[in-house]
């Protein structure tokens, strides 16, 4: 069977990046092509200049097509969804007839029904549903049941986590892709994709937080017990760090960005108090400057600490006291900032490392992994959607053959 390749596109605040890849039978993601171009016309994950944005999308797709020598017709759009939020909902399904005073057995239809009920979440007009993720079942008094099929019960409940984004942001991004013109298959939440790429089941069980620090947005997903417990996104990211530096040191944004990447650190180190950094002069009216490392790092530290604190605060609101035994994984461009892992460790009080996608080949380098985690995850996600469409009837048939059949 020829493997079907999947194209994903992320319209980020700093970079528009397209990736084509396929999921092989053994579950390994094989990256075929990567195309990227610096973003223009996008700020904080939202479009501020449509023409520029469309041009960027075209360039990125073109670059990927040239890279992979394959034309791209449809893409999966990865978005942080303009301040995505997560909402929990519960669906309840009564299994027992009031007349018939006997417990009945849960079968797949009951599950489908209760999930369907739970899926129906009323969202405000300006929000759009990105994902609905099934969590635990509750069978009468037994909570945290993961698969209730075959259990006897009176009432079946299911918890669902709905991740929803800003309708205008998501729709506009989709529209841009459509106008490129490329068919946009679906939009997925980038935090979820990052997690799909860098987490294994064990980590998901133990409790792990994935924070994707992008240019304009920061997304996070918290897993515990194998399920997503919290997710969200807020429009603060690496660009804010750059802007803070630019404002604080009074240097142009370009220099601020270069300074951040080269000399910036999220930790203020007493040893570097007397360390001076010289910013070279630029051709356009900037005559060079000398700044102290400690000033630079104080600015970065304040911002990064705030970003992490915002994540922590959100998590504490959504689901307090979830252990993060597997630590915190950082992905995205912002995770390359010096000292950011140590800062994360300080804020979250658990080990904090780079999240690198695994079971993947074809990436430019292992070191650059955190940068591509989102895309690898999205490819994996897209592939899983396809198999879901094809396979369930088959499994269902088998289930009926073995289980359902025996009861009839």
């Amino acid at each position: 069977m020829a493997l079907e390749s999947t194209a994903v596109l992320e319209i980020g605040t700093t970079t528009v990046r397209a990736m084509v890849g396929e999921v092989r039978d053994d579950g390994e993601v094989s990256v075929i092509a990567i195309g990227e171009t610096p973003s223009r016309g996008i700020r904080k994950g939202e479009i501020i200049n449509r023409d520029d944005a469309i041009r960027c999308v075209r360039n990125a797709i073109k670059a990927a097509e040239e890279n992979g020598r394959k034309s791209i017709h449809s893409v999966m759009l990865v978005t942080s969804g303009g301040q995505a939020e997560a909402k929990k909902s519960t669906g309840i399904h009564k299994l027992v007839d009031p007349q018939d005073n006997q417990l009945s057995e849960v079968d797949q239809e009951d599950i489908d029904e209760v999930v369907e009920i739970a899926r129906k979440v009323a969202l405000p007009e300006n929000r759009i549903k990105l994902h609905t993720l099934q969590q635990y079942f509750q069978v009468d008094d037994t909570i945290n049941v993961t698969n209730p099929v075959g259990m006897a019960s009176e009432e079946l409940r299911v918890d669902m986590l709905t991740i929803h984004g800003k309708r205008s942001a998501v729709d506009n991004l989709r529209k841009i892709v459509d106008d490129a013109p490329i068919q946009c298959v679906d939009a997925v939440f980038s935090g979820l994709c990052s997690a799909a790429a860098v987490l294994n089941d064990e980590q998901k069980k133990a409790g792990v937080l994935v924070v994707d620090v992008g240019g304009g947005t920061t997304d996070f997903v918290l897993y515990h017990d194998g399920f997503i417990q919290a997710a969200g996104s807020f429009p603060v990211g690496g660009d804010h760090v750059t802007n803070d530096i630019s404002v604080g040191l009074q240097i142009p944004l370009g220099q601020a960005e270069a300074l951040k990447v080269k000399d910036g650190s999220a930790l203020t180190n007493l040893m570097e108090r007397d360390h001076n950094i010289s910013i070279p002069a630029a051709s356009q009216g900037f005559s060079g400057k000398m700044v102290r490392a400690v000033t630079l790092n104080t600015i970065i530290n304040a911002r990064m600490e705030e970003i992490f604190s915002l994540v922590k605060e959100q998590i504490d609101v959504q689901c307090p006291n979830v252990p993060m035994s597997a630590g915190v994984l950082l992905t995205g461009g912002g995770s390359f900032l010096n000292g950011v892992r140590d800062l994360g460790q300080k804020v979250f009080n658990v080990p904090c490392t780079h999240g690198k996608p695994f079971y993947v080949h074809g990436l430019p380098s292992v070191k650059a992994g955190p940068l591509y985690a989102v895309h690898v995850g999205a490819i994996r996600y897209a592939a899983s959607l396809k198999t879901v469409v094809e396979k369930p009837p088959l499994t269902k048939k088998l289930m009926h053959l073995f289980w359902g059949g025996s009861h009839e």
């Binding site: 700020r43 904080k44 939202e46 501020i48 807020f234 429009p235 603060v236 660009d239 804010h240 802007n243 803070d244 630019s246 404002v247 604080g248 040191l249 009074q250 944004l253 108090r273 007397d274 001076n276 000398m290 102290r292 400690v294 000033t295 104080t298 600015i299 304040a302 911002r303 600490e305 705030e306 915002l310």
Partner: protein, 384 residues
């Protein structure tokens, strides 16, 4: 302090201190200092050849020969700045291998106000710690001069590690009407001199309880702003009480009121071999009564045979930071805008520091605009 001292001391890598007098006032001050203590490494810098000629100082640098043609800068700050920029390589040469540069200047004129900010920058680039002692003009010298001085002070602050500001106005006792004019100006020189000598003494003498270069360094780094300097001398039986009394009512410390809001303080005591522990205790306890609890305090005691039967105390008091330095322009803009020109029901348009995010949808979280730099919202003071 000088080459001679370095050889005498056991340590080879003694900190090298250079005193630089800038402008006519500063040049005269350092010349006076060197006359008193020939060990002092001092350089006088001025645009005016007349001033430099009359000084009895070993090293002097004449700057801006091509700009002012040997005359003074005539109160033009820009001329002072240009002069020093032209001859900056000479300054750079002098600053090679200097650990602590003490700049002495009178602000308000042309050369001092124009050149000192440039020198501080050069010194910082050369890696030296910069302590600037400046005298601020008298009130009667006019608003223009005092504004020039304030402007220069602001520029100096961006590069100097610490500034000791000596307001001439505070030096003069108003009741003292008979004070000759010559003396009144000499008084600020005297204060600077005392300060520099005391610092030099503390750093170079081996003390009972050392106050070394590093501790002053830390203090200078920590205070990062304005320092105030005050010293007092006493002798005889009750010298400890007298000294402390003098200090706590010192004019340069605003009659001791500055101590109550200080952020850091270095106290250096110098006495002869007869200095008693109880005396040190008295001095330190009395001073600490006035200080806030969380103050950064360091003290040192040095013994100098010349101070037999005498006790001299100097204090370097660091003022708490009032405003951050780097973004002062932006912030002040925001603040002044908030204060004035707002009618009832108008919300202040806070765009200070938003930079590239000024014209996009603000991100509001917990009543805070996340696009504004965190350090501004949290009021974190940026070290320069």
């Amino acid at each position: 302090m000088s080459e001679g001292r370095v050889v005498q001391g056991q340590q080879i890598a003694a900190p090298r201190i250079l005193v630089m007098g800038v402008g006519s006032s500063g040049a005269k001050a350092v010349a006076g200092m060197q006359a008193l203590n020939s060990d002092l490494d001092a350089i006088a810098i001025d645009t005016d050849t007349k001033v430099l000629e009359t000084l009895s100082i070993e090293t002097s640098i004449h700057i801006g020969a091509s700009i002012t043609r040997g005359m003074s800068s005539g109160g033009d700050v820009e001329l002072g700045r240009q002069s020093i920029e032209k001859d900056s390589s000479d300054i750079r040469k002098q600053l090679r291998q200097i650990d602590l540069l003490i700049i002495v200047a009178g602000l308000g004129g042309g050369t001092g106000s124009g050149a000192v900010p440039v020198i501080t920058r050069i010194a910082r680039e050369a890696g030296a710690l910069v302590l600037t002692m400046v005298s601020m003009p008298f009130a009667f010298e006019g608003k223009k001069i005092s504004r020039t001085a304030e402007e220069a002070l602001k520029r100096i602050r961006t590069h100097a590690d610490a500034i000791v500001r000596i307001p001439n106005e505070r030096l003069i006792d108003r009741k003292d009407t008979e004070l000759p004019a010559e003396h009144s100006f000499a008084r600020s020189h005297q204060v600077m001199m005392d300060g520099i000598f005391s610092i030099g003494r503390l750093l170079s003498r081996n003390g009972v309880c050392g106050l070394d270069f590093a501790s002053v360094h830390t203090m200078l780094r920590n205070c990062d702003g304005f320092c105030h300097f005050a010293g007092a001398d006493g002798s005889g039986e009750k010298r400890a009480d007298k000294v402390v009394e003098d200090l706590l009512t010192h004019r340069l410390l605003n009659n001791g009121r500055l101590l109550e809001h200080a952020a850091g303080i270095v106290v250096g005591l110098t006495g002869g071999h007869d200095l008693k522990l109880s005396e040190i205790e008295v001095v330190m306890n009395r001073i600490q009564e006035k200080l806030p609890d969380e103050i950064w305090l360091n003290f040192g005691v040095s013994i100098d045979p010349a101070f037999e039967d005498r006790l001299s105390v100097i204090t370097l008091v660091a003022e708490a930071w009032k405003e951050p330095l780097v973004d002062s322009t932006n912030r002040q803009l925001g603040l002044s805008f908030n204060r004035s020109g707002l009618g009832q029901g108008e919300l202040p348009l806070e765009s200070a520091g938003k930079g590239e995010f000024a014209f996009v949808d603000p991100t509001i979280h917990n009543n805070q605009d996340l696009d504004v730099p965190t350090y501004i919202r949290r009021d974190i003071k940026l070290p320069r």
